[in-house]
């Protein structure tokens, strides 16, 4: 086989393989959707870190007028027990965000390790792990929940466990595909040929080349987890005394808030969940561009040089 024509279009340009953080920053700043998503998340993080600055009232103090509508004193009204809805919303941000991030991190970690190992080791291991992934993908969640609800105490810990079990397989197939596509790249063969152990190759040589994909997986999964966590709590898996948006929804439902005319109590946490999910989803657009150069806008420069 003689040389293929290596024209300038083929050689990797600096733009293609710039260091990940710089590329990411450029992609986010250059992409409006990603920028909006980023802003939303930054605001959420701030609110989670300093809730007292935004809502000085104690969220659990049941001292105000009950079922009051929005007013200057209570931006979103009060609950049936007389708690400030706005305060509850703000103070719930922290736990909601923490749970989301922890679950997503654990699940992404699991799906990366299992997906990549499956692709890299191949053979029987691959078959077994693929079956495992498929089983967890099609696991009927609700019957599992009912089962677990009978044994697990309601609360954040159970929530995290259930969420991890049901969401790790989400991205495992995709990461496995990516692993399959690079497993025969020369630099990996070279690593084995110089005597590196399998674990080393997976963790040090393969995973770092997949950071964009892993980050994109993380964000996709986060969108899912945010919504699913809230749903589970709404169904009663959470502990109603914990401060999370999902438990707010549960409490509002229990108190028949909508029927009682207290729409804000029921809708505000739902809107917050949607907003957080949207933040993650929008930020993910930055990775579309990084992952697929064909999607990058061709930015024409104004004015041409004369020939």
């Amino acid at each position: 086989m003689a040389i293929p024509d290596i024209s300038i279009a083929d050689a990797p340009t600096a733009a293609d393989v710039t260091r990940a953080p710089r590329r990411f920053r450029r992609a986010v700043l250059g992409n409006r959707k990603a920028l909006v998503g980023g802003v939303i998340l930054v605001v959420m993080a701030f609110v989670a870190a300093f809730p007292g600055l935004v809502a000085p009232d104690d969220p659990q103090a049941a001292i105000y007028a009950q079922n009051a509508g929005p007013s200057s004193a209570h931006l979103l009204g009060t609950t049936m027990l007389g708690q400030d809805v706005f305060s509850q919303l703000i103070w719930s941000t922290r736990l909601t965000l923490i749970v989301t991030l922890v679950v997503t991190a654990i699940a992404t970690f699991l799906s990366t390790i299992i997906g990549v190992t499956s692709a890299y080791v191949g053979g029987i291991t691959d078959r077994v792990l693929t079956v495992l992934i498929d089983v967890f993908l099609i696991l009927p969640v609700l019957p599992l929940l009912i089962l677990l609800a009978a044994y697990l105490p309601p609360g954040v810990t159970s929530l995290v466990i259930v969420l991890c079990i049901t969401s790790w397989a989400f991205q495992a197939r995709q990461l496995r595909s990516q692993g399959l596509s690079i497993r025969n790249r020369d630099f990996l063969v070279a690593a084995r040929a110089r005597g590196e152990r399998g674990i080393y190759v997976i963790l040090v040589e393969i995973v770092p080349t997949m950071t964009s994909l892993i980050a994109a997986s993380f964000l996709s999964l986060a969108v899912y987890v945010v919504g699913f966590a809230a749903s589970l709590q709404f169904l009663g898996l959470g502990n109603s005394s914990e401060l999370m948006w999902g438990t707010m929804l549960y409490n509002a439902q229990q108190a028949a808030a909508l029927e009682a005319g207290n729409a804000w109590w029921a809708l505000a946490p739902g809107a917050a969940v949607a907003l957080l999910g949207t933040g993650f989803a929008l930020l993910n657009y930055a990775f579309d561009e990084i992952g697929n150069p064909a999607l990058r806008p061709v930015r024409r420069r104004r004015g041409r040089r004369s020939a």
């Binding site: 086989m1 003689a2 040389i3 293929p4 024509d5 290596i6 024209s7 300038i8 279009a9 050689a11 340009t13 600096a14 733009a15 990058r296 061709v298 930015r299 024409r300 420069r301 041409r304 040089r305 004369s306 020939a307």
Partner: protein, 325 residues
């Protein structure tokens, strides 16, 4: 003197990227006579493939022709519309790409693709399609039975031959080829080139042949264009350039090919590497690698000087060029 078939004047092609505009082809001019075999030689980044696309009007963004003209049968192709170009394509000139697997549709049989091509550029009857398809297949040495085959069923060499057959469907006057042999093994390469030359002699079409392989050029072409970093470094008749290469780059290239026959001697090659077109050296683009570099080469860009019947872009020849005038 017959009229030239193709005249390229000052063709310039830029790639407009978000970080910088890169000039892939810089004011290239040459002519092609009817029936002539012109070899365009160069290494990576020299712009030879871009030149080819520019001439054939096949550039797509971010590549764009930003200057010059390509006059084929009296008409400037750069200024023609897509519709007018479509008329010319395949009837007046055709293109053979580097990799048949990229150019052929894997889902259609060879015969079906011939039919598409024939119908795309004319209105032949079913009988004419069948006849002509079989005719071109025989011309390139493939049994017409293979019209029913799919590309993956043919070997690499046969696929390339099928590509050439397809290019000859309307017997164009000019066939442009982009390294059609580089993906083939050495024996298949030789066999294909022989066939191309045979066809050229019998059908009389001109060929512009882009390659990195000097030996192909030496054996088959009438004239040679040596390209470096987007410019023509040297242009001359094949025997002239091989007997007495003028440009230090051409000389370096000649010296970089070990041979299977003749005495074994130590070769030197050319130190360094072809430049990044976004970061060209000052003055002559070749000066960082040149064994005969002079101080003036670092600041002054050479023009294309005519020395006898050779065009060479090198400051070593400014005096000779003046004398000749």
């Amino acid at each position: 003197m017959a009229d030239a078939l193709l005249e390229v004047h000052g063709l310039t092609v830029d790639y407009l990227t978000e970080s910088a505009d890169v000039r892939a082809v810089d004011r290239v001019s040459f002519t092609v006579e009817p029936g002539e075999f012109l070899g365009v030689v160069g290494e990576s980044g020299c712009g030879k493939s871009t030149l080819l696309f520019g001439v054939a009007q096949l550039l797509s963004p971010p590549g764009e022709v930003v200057g010059g003209e390509v006059i084929f049968r009296g008409r400037d192709m750069v200024r023609l519309s897509q519709g007018e170009l479509r008329h010319m394509r395949w009837r007046d000139y055709s293109v053979v790409m580097q990799s048949a697997m990229n150019a052929l549709n894997p889902m259609k049989s060879i015969g079906a693709q011939f039919k598409d091509t024939l119908e795309g550029h004319g209105s032949p009857s079913t009988e004419q399609i069948r006849e002509r398809s079989a005719e071109v297949m025989t011309m390139v040495g493939i049994d017409p039975e293979h019209l029913k085959s799919y590309p993956h069923q043919l070997s690499g060499g046969m696929r390339q031959r099928a590509m050439i057959a397809m290019a000859l469907l309307y017997t164009p006057q000019l066939v442009i080829m982009d390294e059609p042999t580089s993906a083939l093994d050495v024996v298949a390469q030789r066999s294909l080139m022989t066939k191309i030359k045979e066809l050229q002699r019998s059908l009389g079409f001109a060929v512009i042949f882009v390659t990195h392989d000097m030996s192909v050029v030496s054996r088959y072409s009438d004239r040679v264009l040596v390209m470096y970093a987007g410019q023509i470094a040297e242009a001359a008749r094949t025997d002239t350039i091989f007997e007495r290469p003028l440009h230090p780059y051409t000389r370096g290239l000649m010296n970089a090919f070990p041979s299977v026959t003749g005495p074994r001697r130590e070769l030197v090659g050319i130190p360094g590497a072809p430049p990044d077109l976004a970061r060209l050296p000052s003055g002559c683009r070749f000066h960082p690698r040149c064994s005969e570099v002079m101080p003036v080469c670092m600041s002054r860009e050479p023009e294309l000087y005519t020395v006898g019947d050779v065009a060479v872009r090198c400051l070593l020849y400014t005096e000779q060029a003046k004398e000749a005038v």
